[in-house]
């Protein structure tokens, strides 16, 4: 699957830390605006698509159209310009915007004008559909919880990808493998540190150290990404609290 978008091209890396993408979308420089929107779309398109599919119970094709329409509006109509971090979190604001769009679905003349199923952004809906099939039926509960959980899934996925890349660049691929083994992979009884040490021919203390390092880096990257996805320090802290501190 790809995280490319037509706005930002291939998205190799998140922008630097401590810089809000929301501010970026309001930048006078087109390149900065494009990059910021690209990052936001990468993190939000799957939650938006799944939310439309699960909460609004839309079929695959209409959900794709609505997702495309939503992000097209985000870009063209400057929806983010109207976002006020004092009044809501970005996540909540976007969900409410999606609700508004879907509720007005019947007045979809604009979509027709666009020519119906026109692909505006090369979003990998097939992978999102595949993920939907793995979600339990109960997943579509409280809309805010659904959207929040899917946002967390998307953000954690992007953070893991960045972690893998960074650790490999540092020659610490094994650190990532251990994180995968303990915190990502599904399946039976977790291996003991001694078993893992024997498997990788390292010391058991190395297993704990490598794992601690990978987890620490994962945490750093998640917070880094989250900071970029929030408009204010206050919103960042509330989102971090929701994402990390509170059971999702």
């Amino acid at each position: 699957m790809t995280d490319d978008t037509s706005i930002g091209g291939v998205r190799h890396q998140f922008p630097s830390t401590h810089w809000s993408q929301i501010e970026g979308t309001r930048s006078p420089h087109a390149e900065e605006r494009r990059r910021a929107l690209d990052s936001l779309i990468s993190a939000y398109w799957k939650p938006v698509y799944k939310y439309i599919r699960l909460h609004w119970k839309k079929e695959n094709e209409p959900a794709k159209d609505l997702t495309q329409e939503f992000f097209a509006r985000l870009v063209e109509k400057g929806l983010l310009d109207r976002f006020d971090p004092e009044r809501a979190r970005l996540r909540t604001y976007l969900r409410v915007c999606v609700d508004g769009l879907v509720m007005n679905e019947d007045k979809a003349a604009q979509r027709v004008k666009r020519g119906g199923h026109v692909t505006l952004l090369p979003l990998d809906f097939e992978s999102a559909e595949g993920e939907l099939r793995q979600l339990p039926l109960a997943a579509a509960g409280n809309p805010e919880e659904l959207f929040s959980r899917e946002f967390a899934r998307s953000l954690f996925g992007l953070a893991l990808e960045r972690l893998r890349r960074e650790l490999e660049e540092k020659g610490k691929g094994l650190h990532f493998e251990l994180l995968e083994l303990y915190d990502i992979d599904e399946g039976g009884k977790p291996l003991t540190y001694d078993e893992v040490a024997r498997r990788y021919r390292i010391k058991p203390t190395d297993v704990t150290n490598y794992l601690a390092y990978a987890r620490r880096e994962f945490r750093r990257i998640v917070l880094d990404e989250l900071r970029a996805m929030t408009a204010t320090e206050d919103e960042f802290r509330r989102e971090a609290h929701t994402l990390l501190g509170v059971k999702l």
Partner: protein, 325 residues
């Protein structure tokens, strides 16, 4: 390649990212006890002293935003309050992941909101209340306001010990901003998480927060805690037996929870004195009585002596009446 993460993987990753990084410390993680407004509280083993303690760590640490300072300030505030009703702090510092932490005594027991069901009697509940007042009065004497007093922030131990927890929103009287932040894991429901508690921020729990605190006024003083204590008293009176709630107690609660701070008890000690007077059958300041209720209360308080006297008088009367002439 953005991978698919199952709900279970999502949860494990969240825990991995949230758990304190205890590398190079004397502590070993056991489990999570709760989540507060600013961070989590974990049960850890102090491997040096071979005992379990509670470790509080903030969710997000950023020296630029001053949050580690705030947590350490909280630890320092609690450390100053050496009182049997206030949980003692053992250690404080910064973890390898950059987050500040402190450790405190691991309190075994139940939160007051859970414990209260096992204490149906009014008198026993009022005695618990007096112990809460003791701890808060002690803090006030050291110029510390709690600002988030509620049943969820009071622990009752297996031997009846009462501890006031969660000094996370505490504030030094006279300091311009809030400082110090929970082992019970109760989140301040109305907290607006931010690096400070400057004027305008609402910190506390609706229903227990004084009106001036709800309005975010900067000049909140001890009387805000007195209001919250009134709300705790109301909670304790809610289903206590006997019913209905005696008028004097209702008056105490009303005075503690007066909308205008000037109409409240001027100090926690005076609130506690009134409750103690009620328990002793004495007149309470919050409830001026007419002669009849006062006489009735005097009779109730001296019932044993009055009955004894009556028995004596009846016996004397009988003796006089049946005396052989």
């Amino acid at each position: 390649m953005n991978r698919w993460l199952s709900d279970s993987a999502l949860e494990r990753l969240r825990e991995a990212a949230d758990s304190p990084d205890l590398a190079d410390t004397r502590y070993r993680l056991i489990d999570k006890l709760g989540q507060g407004g600013m961070g989590g509280v974990f049960r850890v083993e102090d491997t040096t002293l071979e005992r379990q303690v509670a470790l509080k760590v903030i969710t997000v640490g950023d020296p630029e935003a001053g949050w580690p300072t705030r947590l350490l300030q909280e630890a320092r505030v609690i450390a100053k309050l050496e009182h049997p009703g206030i949980v003692p702090v053992h250690d404080a510092g910064v973890l390898a992941d950059g987050r500040s932490f402190y450790t405190m005594k691991l309190v075994q027991g139940k939160r007051l909101d859970e414990h209260v069901a096992t204490v149906p009697g009014l008198s026993d509940r009022l005695r618990i209340f007096l112990r809460i007042c003791d701890a808060v009065a002690f803090a006030h004497a050291h110029s510390v306001l709690h600002r988030d007093l509620k049943p969820g922030n009071v622990m009752v131990g297996p031997f009846g010990e009462v501890l006031v927890m969660d000094w996370g929103l505490s504030k030094l009287v006279g300091s311009p901003s809030g400082s110090a932040t929970s082992q019970s894991g109760e989140a301040p429901a109305a907290e607006i998480v931010g690096p400070g508690t400057a004027h305008g921020s609402v910190l506390g729990t609706p229903g227990y927060m004084a009106p001036e605190q709800t309005r975010g006024e900067a000049s909140v003083d001890e009387r805000a805690d007195i209001y919250s204590l009134g709300a705790v008293l109301q909670f304790l009176l809610a289903d206590a037996s006997p019913r209905p709630v005696p008028r004097a107690l209702a008056a105490i609660r009303l005075r503690a929870m007066a909308a205008d701070p000037a109409d409240r008890y001027p100090s926690v000690q005076e609130l506690a004195d009134d409750v103690a007077h009620f328990l002793d059958g004495l007149q309470v300041n919050a409830y001026p009585e007419g002669p009849l209720p006062r006489a009735w209360r005097w009779i109730a308080r001296n019932r044993a002596w009055i009955l004894l006297l009556l028995a004596y008088m009846v016996t004397r009367a009988l003796l006089i009446f049946f005396r052989p002439r």
